[in-house]
């Protein structure tokens, strides 16, 4: 897999969240006028996997679908990915210090230790240190 998409409510805010708070690297950033940007970021240790920070635009969706999709994003409907790390407590403390909102603190599960956080739009991620 080379690309994956996450729908965001505001690309500028998402850019700040994914790069400055989460530590992802910008891969491509191509402005396309009022329709937003082709903006992709990659996890620091997976530079080949591009996550598209996709705006919900009227060019792509009808008004009804656009409003529904934004509402679903806002309500935290979408769990986007599992991000693994070497040390969950260090990563948890650092992300919290950077302003990332966790909905579940690190908790032991049968597969390892897992926490859950939200991005600035409402999408949620599992952060895990696997056994």
């Amino acid at each position: 897999m080379t690309h994956s998409t996450v729908y965001v409510l505001d690309q500028d805010s998402a850019f700040d969240f994914y790069t400055n708070k989460l530590g992802f690297k910008v891969v491509t950033d191509v402005p396309m006028g009022n329709d937003g940007r082709w903006l992709t970021v990659a996890p620091p240790q997976m530079p080949e996997l591009e996550m598209v920070l996709a705006p919900v635009t009227r060019s792509m969706f009808s008004k009804e679908v656009s409003e529904t999709l934004k509402d679903l994003v806002r309500k935290g409907t979408f769990g986007v990915a599992v991000l693994t790390c070497d040390d969950i407590y260090a990563t948890y403390e650092e992300l919290k210090a950077r302003g990332v909102e966790f909905t579940k603190a690190p908790t032991k599960e049968f597969y390892g230790t897992e926490a859950i956080f939200k991005d600035d739009s409402g999408n949620w991620y599992s952060l895990a240190q696997l056994k």
Binding site: H3, P31, M32, W38, M60, E101, A105
Partner: protein
């Protein structure tokens, strides 16, 4: 959603605060011994604990952080000599050598490459956007 206690919580918080201090002050002359003191560690213990979590010593982390910040500034078009001093290096030859060792390219070559890329993107943005996405957004029609 805040601190349920977990094993070594206070140790983690001290180490993370030290790392965040490096993140914020990387461009300044950093005294790692002073950071260790602030975190209530001996220098030896600080290096050992930092490395156990971050897989790098604090010094290695500081250098890699400076090089990454340098890469971002070069990508934005800042001149090589300005970048060198802005990220906290004191010697242009040392900076250039480290940058090349860590990225595979000299800073000037990287700067030129990024300037070319930026010009190409400005001239032909659709050449850098997958057709499916451009099509869905109606950009191909324009």
């Amino acid at each position: 959603m805040n601190g349920q206690a977990y094993p070594r919580m206070y140790l983690y918080r001290r180490l993370v605060q030290a790392k965040l201090f490096i993140d914020e002050h990387y461009a300044e002359p950093i005294d790692l011994e002073a950071i260790a003191d602030e975190a209530f560690f001996s220098k030896f213990h600080f290096i050992k604990q930092f490395k156990s979590i971050y897989r790098q010593t604090p010094h290695q982390y500081l250098i890699s952080l400076r090089i990454e910040k340098a890469r971002q500034l070069l990508k934005a078009g800042v001149a090589v000599s300005d970048v060198c001093y802005q990220v906290g290096f004191e010697s242009l030859p040392s900076f250039s050598g480290l940058f090349k060792r860590m990225t595979g390219m000299s800073p000037s070559a990287y700067l030129a490459e990024q300037q070319d890329l930026k010009a190409q993107i400005t001239a032909e943005p659709l050449a850098y956007i997958p057709g499916c996405f451009a099509h869905k957004n109606g950009w191909l029609k324009k």
